[in-house]
Symmetry: C2
Subunit: 326 residues, 2 copies
Amino acid sequence: MLELQKSEIQSLFDLSAGAAAIRQAYIAQAQQRVQVPDVTYLGFPEANGDCHVKSGYIEGTEGFVVKIATGFYNNPAQGLASSNGMNMLFCAKTGQPLAFLNDGGWLTDIRTGLGGALTTLALARADFRKVLIVGGGLQARHQARCLMHLAENRPIAFAIWARNPEQAEQTAQDLRSDGIDANAACDLQQACGQADVIITTTPAKSPLLQASWIRAGTHITAVGADCPGKQELELPLVLRADLCVCDLAAQSLAHGEFQTAAAAAGLAVDEVISIGDILSGAHPGRTSDTQLTIADLTGLAVQDAAVSLSVYRAAQMIKAKEDILT
Amino acid sequence: MLELQKSEIQSLFDLSAGAAAIRQAYIAQAQQRVQVPDVTYLGFPEANGDCHVKSGYIEGTEGFVVKIATGFYNNPAQGLASSNGMNMLFCAKTGQPLAFLNDGGWLTDIRTGLGGALTTLALARADFRKVLIVGGGLQARHQARCLMHLAENRPIAFAIWARNPEQAEQTAQDLRSDGIDANAACDLQQACGQADVIITTTPAKSPLLQASWIRAGTHITAVGADCPGKQELELPLVLRADLCVCDLAAQSLAHGEFQTAAAAAGLAVDEVISIGDILSGAHPGRTSDTQLTIADLTGLAVQDAAVSLSVYRAAQMIKAKEDILT
């Protein structure tokens, strides 16, 4: 069994290969060529913590994954990270463990970044240039870096808005040090009105973006809402969308960004398009430059399987090369 | 994070400490001071394989466990073990991984052996001496060794019966080489009639033991049936029991030995006593030497938590001693 720590996983991970694997995972999910059992939950209220176990298998691939992720929100007071995680990859032909990826949650962050970037590229206008990122945390950086990587040589200008202006400035500065064109935005409404693409990455529990702020033709990728009670977009904005897209409708409507539209306005599963169907060409996606498109991503276990397989394949490739040389 | 392979786990494992931990786990389960989410299942029909993910936490202990177990039944043709497994232990206060126990399924075998032995000792007549083990596989050996260990200096004579007489002889021989009094039995009916205790460990899909073969006062521990369709005891035998005991009634009645009695004779959850309630003294258990008692064990995630914690504590103790010495 291969065993890799976070730093080894980071150096092995190839963004393009990871994105290709996630693209296939989204398509497989939309075509129901996957196994994704219900998520297992354990709660530790005294420690303000929880644990989620997600399992996923993309049929036809060499392995299935079991991901164990914990969030213990009193940890930072003790100098510990609040999130932890690991992905275990098993052979789908023999059940033997293939890889223990002790990534500490990094693979989840990067698969969320890549999923967002793939979705944004699939749904934004062909000529998009101005991208507003709402939020100044880790996922803001991942969304920007992954989008920049997948967009190749396209000139993208990022604006970063966060509740805390210093955090927005720090995020912009970090991205600039990677050679990315990024600046902090002070006024969210103004920034929304200038953006071709908006990516929301916050844990907001009341809507940040208003319908009237958004231009026709804008695409919004919302990755923040992942449990009941979270919401980044006000209801009229979601209702104004010409196209509502998600990674998995059942999740989006139950506990993602579309939960409010489902509960308050009856948004139904068959009104929300799977990103996998757009990536496969089964659905045309955006058909005009004036459409407002909104994608809500809640994260899939098959994305975890995809990135775990991607790391495993990279390690196998290196091993094969070494075997030839020795 | 502590990381241990099977051989290290085996040498660290203390049967008495493991049994004490499982006793507490049974009691906690009966008192509902546990978290045991639904088991996650993935199936791989093309490879004749499956994967179960079990999670468990005994409230108040230092850690929770996620166990990943696979069974791929075409493996032996390729020279591979059909079963694989690992237990991941996490801190219940911070969510951080405490131990990766790559036990290959051994901890599951031993917790089943210890659970069976604890149950047998709790329910057998005080003067029991003759123990019949039905089945000649790995679990037959574990049940005998664990019972022998927990019974301390009691003189127990084991009879081993298996469909294949050579397998019964081999099992008896293996036990004798451990200094255990064990002999193969040729005739199951006769062996049943002589036994004070019967432990059934087979994957039988039609009943092996008949009601008329069993003496009053006998205790039976059935560990074989663990999924729909398996059955070791004929229905009239279960219905004759003065006391039906289990580790978890919902499991026993759904897919354990008591599934037939539940389906065909309406055996209900409140008619089956939890072994934890007998171990804690909340229920008196056996009250006369003429009662026929039957215990059905289907295995609990909190047993996995218990043995994982037991290994972890043993490793911590050794480390503490080493730290003092250096």
